[in-house]
């Protein structure tokens, strides 16, 4: 970007400045630390100049928004057209209660829904399963059958909201339920928009809500890719998630590397299943975390975009521009929230949300201040949403595209993160790809090492967390936390008894038998699953059939 003479002149001045000014100042006022580092252990210098980005080629490395390599964003005008989707992840208790919360959020100006399911739903157990005891409705809404899903979306027109569902192992089943509801609402499938998380690899790595072994799980995923490309063209078929990888302790670099490595595995699987890359790749979406180190986070988002564009173009020979675009949802970092002085979390969330917006996110969830303590109350959720709205309407950062571009530090970091992530991806390739690297425990081990180092740094006070290892106060226990009604489990059980009495059980048996038969073939399973769902077979029954045919995954514990 700079000619040689200019660079030489800057270099000379820089050295003089280091020799004269810096040294003298440091002698009189020593620096706070002997080494400054980002959260990813990238060394941070005292000053960045053109010297740090002298090889940067504007056209090739940055380009223009909406154009390859998408470093500056995936749309030409970004937030000047419309803000990111403000999408608060919510759900708890029964479908009735969650439906009420969704309507509240829509009234407050939220623009998309994001459904949290309880753990039994995520792991394919009905609410009356012994392992579901104590878990029903706790971290999300309990869905046992299409009946619950009908209640969940009662009065919410599916052609006018976009819905994101955090569901992985049983993603095909919940998507089938959503399709069934759209049909009942007379909404054509082309009008549906939304996302299912559907990312099983990160479940094995970090989140733990897997059911089946990798092979049949990957098949379910590619079946969804295929079905949606033909029937629900605007549906994001997967949300390849770095969020949980980061929550498990990964650094920003690892988050990018492992997420994109998983992305490569999905694209590989789909191509192997006979799909054409440009038919499904435009509907791949991503999900990242945002932590407190704003500048590193912004660089991370930009690096991820550039790296994915190159991967799709060079490795998979995609030709559709949309296949190369990394579109992503962001959630602020749950693990950065503290139980101590919980109001401080509002500020943390603000910094993180700002990073996401400056990094060009397509949608955003801001955490509530009380989430280190319990599920958020309505008040806390409102503040979290207001945080986004203030950034959107008042901060000015949404008025131009990629406003931090050209900062020497940001461009340097973007490049650095991309390079280090690429190194990890190369290593994972050498291990045989993401699935193999997970099986060998490589990815888990890397993340756990980072998590453990982080903990040690906090305990040694090398890393300061305000209110935790510095600036502590005596506090009274927080009040007014949200409590999930302990009766939810019993109510769901009652509903199941009623359901099994009222539905046509012959039809249930027929559809389930058909699913079993199909599961043993290589045919696309979506139609059979949709039939099961419409017959009011329960989620647990459907997963039970698939467990029988596919078996269950056993965790590899690497410590």
């Amino acid at each position: 970007m700079f000619d040689n003479d200019k660079i030489n002149a800057i270099e000379q001045k820089y050295n003089e400045w280091e020799e004269k000014s810096v040294k003298k100042t440091v002698q009189r006022f020593p620096e706070r630390k002997t080494a400054f580092k980002t959260g990813s252990n990238i060394e941070v210098k005292n000053l960045y100049t053109p010297l740090d980005i002298k090889d940067l080629d504007y056209i090739e490395d940055l380009g223009f928004p909406g154009e390859y390599p998408f470093t500056r964003g995936v749309q030409p005008t970004m937030y000047r057209g419309r803000f990111w989707t403000m999408r608060q992840y919510a759900g708890f208790g029964t479908a009735e209660e969650s439906n009420k919360r969704y309507k509240f959020l829509l009234e407050q100006g939220q623009t998309g829904l994001s459904v949290a399911f309880d753990l039994p739903t995520q792991i394919g157990y009905d609410s009356d399963h012994p392992l579901a005891q104590g878990e029903v409705g706790k971290v999300g809404v309990a869905i046992d059958s299409l009946e619950d899903m009908e209640i969940l979306f009662d009065g919410i027109p599916l052609d006018r909201v976009s819905t994101s569902m955090t569901i992985n192992a049983p993603a095909a089943i919940l998507l089938a339920m959503y399709i069934a509801i759209a049909e009942k609402q007379n909404v054509p499938l082309e009008k549906l928009s939304g996302t299912i998380q559907n990312d099983i690899l990160k479940e094995y790595i970090a989140r733990g809500t897997y059911i089946f072994p990798p092979e049949p799980s990957m098949r379910l995923i590619t079946d969804i890719f295929e079905y949606c490309s033909k029937n629900i063209p605007n549906w994001n078929t997967i949300s390849i998630s770095g969020y949980h990888i980061r929550e498990a302790g990964a650094t920003a670099v690892q988050e990018v590397a492992f997420t994109l490595a998983n992305g490569i595995a999905y694209v590989d699987a789909a191509i192997k299943a006979g799909l054409n890359v440009d038919d499904f790749a435009p509907r791949l979406s991503f999900f990242f975390n945002a932590h407190n180190d704003i500048l590193e986070e912004v660089a991370k988002f930009r690096a991820a975009r550039r790296l994915w564009a190159k991967i799709m173009k060079d490795r998979f020979n995609a030709t559709n521009k949309k296949s190369m675009m990394l579109r992503f949802h962001t959630q602020t970092g749950g693990s950065t929230l503290t139980a101590q002085q919980p109001d401080n979390n509002i500020i943390r969330v603000t910094l993180q949300a700002l990073a996401a917006v400056l990094g060009g996110t397509q949608s955003l969830h801001t955490n509530s201040r009380d989430e280190a303590l319990a599920l958020p109350t309505e008040d806390s959720v409102r503040i979290a949403l207001r945080t986004q709205q203030i950034i959107a309407y008042e901060s000015g950062v949404a008025e131009t595209v990629d406003p931090l571009a050209g900062s020497y530090y940001i461009e340097y970091l973007t490049d650095k993160i991309e390079k280090e992530a690429q190194e990890y991806i190369d290593k994972i390739d050498r291990l045989g790809g993401a699935s193999k690297a997970i099986e060998k425990g490589f990815i888990q081990q890397e993340i756990q090492d980072s998590a453990y180092n982080y903990q040690k740094e906090v305990e040694n006070n090398q890393r300061i967390i305000v209110g935790v290892n510095k600036f502590r106060i005596e506090e009274a226990p927080p009040k007014d936390l949200l409590k999930v009604d302990p009766e939810v489990g019993r109510r769901q059980e009652q509903k199941l008894i009623q359901l099994k009495k009222n539905r046509n059980n012959d039809e249930v048996e027929r559809t389930l038998n058909n699913l079993k038969k199909m599961a043993k073939t290589k045919e696309n399973l979506m139609p059979a699953i949709i039939d099961c769902v419409k017959s009011y077979a329960t989620l647990g029954e459907i997963c039970g059939i698939l467990r029988e045919v596919f078996g269950e995954y056993k965790q590899a514990v690497i410590l």
Binding site: G551, K554, Q555, V557, L559
Partner: protein
């Protein structure tokens, strides 16, 4: 809790406590073993060894489940490395055997090596005896599996299963040099991977070369433990090996060898304990060392001093 009565009554808490006491070197454990020694020697002891990641725990899990189906009881001892720096350990093999936890006829115990080399822990032998007294028909001992030092298992088990997986690459060369001798049965696990046939051929070739005076030719069996494939065959080979040991009288000599080496190792340990830790008999080895450093004494004379001192006072002490 009366531990002797407890173990006779089949109380798992007593079994668990006795193993801990043995691990901690507590004489109470050895007292109970002494008194119930006539109940040992009944179980078939099967060693499972092989490199990390070869699937030893999953294989053990499946073998145990198959034996349970046949009505046998199973004890499992899984050894993991203790950190030489902190003395702590993460004992993680159990995780592969979670389904067995609630099975009445199974007892699983994790042990750290606690500084012992050779792939087992010092108290593994005592733990085997305790599980034997407890009445387990089969006792599996899963070694640490970190390399070529896994020699203890041969002396400990009646039948040693060496588990390998395709894709070890150059490691096979190391195996040639090291642990090939220790397998009575070879398993190529994860045999759905490519190259598994090649690995089988390589092992067979090595076995052909090593074929010595023994009449037992170790079989090579392909398994996919995670899918329960090859498990029955493996068990029948283990039974065959045990029958062979009995019919050839090798079991007797093998077990006498084992007893002999146990006597030696327990004696060594107790002897060292006496000269180090018993105030009545021990000369300060630290003091002797200083004298040797200052050339007031030499190494061999120092040992003579220790032994003379022991001869005078030490007999009968423990």
């Amino acid at each position: 809790m009366n531990l002797k009565q407890g173990i006779l009554d089949g109380d798992k808490r007593a079994v668990a406590r006795l193993i801990s006491l043995a691990e901690n070197g507590d004489p109470e454990a050895f007292k109970v073993i002494k008194e119930l020694f006539h109940l040992t020697g009944r179980a078939q002891i099967i060693g499972i060894t092989g490199p990390p990641g070869s699937g030893k725990s999953t294989l053990t899990d499946k073998l145990a489940k198959e034996l349970r189906k046949r009505g046998n009881t199973v004890g499992i001892i899984a050894v993991d490395p203790t950190s030489p720096f902190t003395g702590g350990a993460i004992l993680g093999d159990r995780i592969r055997m979670q389904d067995l936890t609630l099975d009445e006829g199974v007892f699983i115990r994790s042990m750290g090596t606690r500084g012992h080399l050779g792939g087992l822990s010092k108290a593994t032998h005592a733990a085997i005896k305790i599980l034997d007294i407890y009445g387990m028909d089969y006792i599996f001992v899963e070694t640490v599996g970190v390399g070529q030092s896994e020699v203890d298992i041969v002396k400990t088990a009646d039948t040693t299963i060496l588990v390998l997986v395709p894709g070890l690459g150059d490691d096979i060369q190391a195996l040639k040099a090291g642990i090939m001798e220790i397998g009575d049965i070879f398993v190529v696990n994860k045999s759905d991977r490519e190259d598994s046939d090649r690995l089988v051929t390589e092992i067979e070739m090595m076995l052909d070369l090593k074929q010595g005076d023994t009449t037992w030719r170790p079989p090579v069996i392909k398994t996919i433990a995670s899918n329960n494939i090859g498990i029955e065959e493996l068990l029948s080979k283990a039974a065959e090996h045990f029958d062979f040991l009995i019919s050839s009288s090798l079991l007797k000599s093998k077990r006498i060898d084992r007893i002999e080496s146990e006597i030696i190792s327990i004696s060594k340990e107790r002897f060292i304990d006496i000269i180090y830790n018993n105030p009545d008999t021990s000369v300060s080895i630290r003091e002797l060392s200083k004298e040797i450093y200052e050339k007031k004494l030499d190494l061999y004379s120092a040992v003579d001093i220790i032994l003379n001192n022991f001869n005078r006072k030490g007999v009968g002490l423990c």
